[in-house]
């Protein structure tokens, strides 16, 4: 009976602690979460390592048996990945519409994102373009492509200064980030693919956990790096933030320039390292539209309706 009394008291104190935590301010809340996360870091590391070890053993065990159905699985994976992104986009649009409904009458923005359709040049087209066999009107009249495009080894798209493309603008296929404009010529531009070692972009993690819950977005912004390998890296996300395999990495858009998230990839490995406060996160870029030649360049434009109104 005495044991029951003690147990009851402990639980009541625990409940009071919970109520106190609810009443804390935002900054104190965050520091409480961080403290708890630090406290649990060794356990998390142990669990993460053992989880990966088990997964590896499991894959090795079934690698032989599953080779025949590999392509089917890959198809399923691509379909799931595409559907996941569509659900993400729809959820965000719904959230946006809900928030607009509450905030009052909707107004049109002065600046808005503008998508310009482009096409990736085929290797032979690039070759001919760079050697100048396509434009032979003469350099004397200055009708030639810029030197930095001619000498570039990066892939090209068929838009340049003529469409107002600027360096570092994002190249998309649907909602998937394919790369970033590297240099802009008169009619063509070169771009860094997402896996290019010089590809950098601010990125954050979102968690498409439960179909009924809204999207959860961690508050940290990291740096997304291409590595020239199959996987990219997401750096500088503090290990006090919850990140797990399967979460989506999206472009960090703190100024909310784009409506909806632009997806960079899916987390395939997230490890807590012992000598650094950051996660080691490997990201698999989205594969579905890799081979598509039709791409979009996202730029910003003044809203013509607003200009016409005056």
């Amino acid at each position: 009976m005495k044991q029951a009394g003690v147990a009851n008291s402990i639980l009541l104190v625990w409940l009071a602690v919970g109520c106190l935590a609810v009443g804390l301010g935002r900054g104190e809340n965050l520091s409480l979460k961080k403290t708890l996360r630090d406290f649990n870091a060794p356990g998390l590391k142990l669990v993460g390592d053992s989880h990966q070890w088990i997964e590896k053993q499991w894959q090795q065990l079934f690698a032989g048996r599953n080779s025949s159905t590999h392509s089917e699985k890959q198809k399923d994976h691509l379909l799931t990945s595409r559907l996941q992104r569509e659900v993400l986009a729809l959820k965000e649009l719904l959230g946006l519409r809900n928030s607009r409904d509450k905030s009052g009458e909707s107004t049109s923005r002065l600046f808005g994102p503008k998508l310009i359709a482009a096409r990736v040049l085929l290797p032979d087209q690039q070759q001919r373009w760079k050697t100048g066999t396509l434009i032979d009107a003469g350099k004397s009249k200055k009708i030639s492509e810029q030197n930095w495009i001619i000498s570039s080894e990066l892939p090209l798209i068929d838009l340049g200064e003529d469409y107002g493309i600027k360096p570092d603008e994002i190249l998309l296929a649907g909602r998937v980030v394919l790369g970033q404009i590297d240099a802009v010529g008169r009619w063509t531009s070169s771009y860094r693919a997402i896996t290019h070692p010089k590809f950098r972009s601010p990125a954050t993690v979102i968690k498409p956990r439960n179909s009924k819950q809204p999207i959860q977005r961690i508050q940290a912004v990291g740096s997304f790096h291409g590595t020239e390998n199959e996987f990219c890296e997401l750096r500088y996300i503090e290990n006090t933030y919850p990140v797990r395999v399967g979460d989506l990495v999206v472009l960090a858009d703190e100024q909310q320039r784009f409506e909806g998230s632009l997806v960079l990839g899916t987390i395939t490995e997230a490890r807590v390292l012992s000598n650094t406060p950051y996660w080691k996160i490997l990201v698999r870029p989205v594969e579905s539209e890799k081979n598509s030649r039709d791409v979009l360049v996202i730029t910003e434009e003044l809203n013509p309706l607003r200009l016409l109104a005056n």
């Binding site: 029951a4 639980l11 009541l12 409940l15 919970g18 009443g23 998390l44 669990v47 509450k102 399967g246």
Partner: protein, 174 residues
Amino acid sequence: MLHRKINLLLSLFSVSGIYLLAMFLFSGSGLISEYAIAIIAVCVCGTFLLGGMLAGVLAVVVVGVVSESILMLPSGTAIIASACAGLMMLHLSKLQSLSLPWKGTIMTFSAASLWSGLFELIPFLQPGNLLSGWELAWSLLKQGLTAASIWLLLLIALFGIASLFKQSRPARIV
């Protein structure tokens, strides 16, 4: 004395197991994480019934700490949810009129429902995020039924189906 020491060691062992399991489930992915609360409710309930009330309370606190640190819920939500579920399990564990398997079934069902209910309800109390009543009720029922099924299946697997029908009520002195 030896019996007590063994019991204490077993309780500590099970609490640390629950700690690692909670970390694995809350930070993992896939189907199993969807039923994390149900699985953890079964483990905590087992600790309550087999390891004693204090061991059970320790397990509740440990799960509270882990879920508070890992899950992206408003601060304090996971602690409150664990404390409420713990209090419910504590009071249900005092029921004398039921045998251990059925007491465990009721405990796991109600603890898992309450626990997941608080997890799902508190963050969604903000306007616009409120789940519909049916969705919430179905979600709670699903967690509760999963927890109770896991408990019963475990008992049957470990002790056989006959264990469910054994009378373990205290003898009444007439």
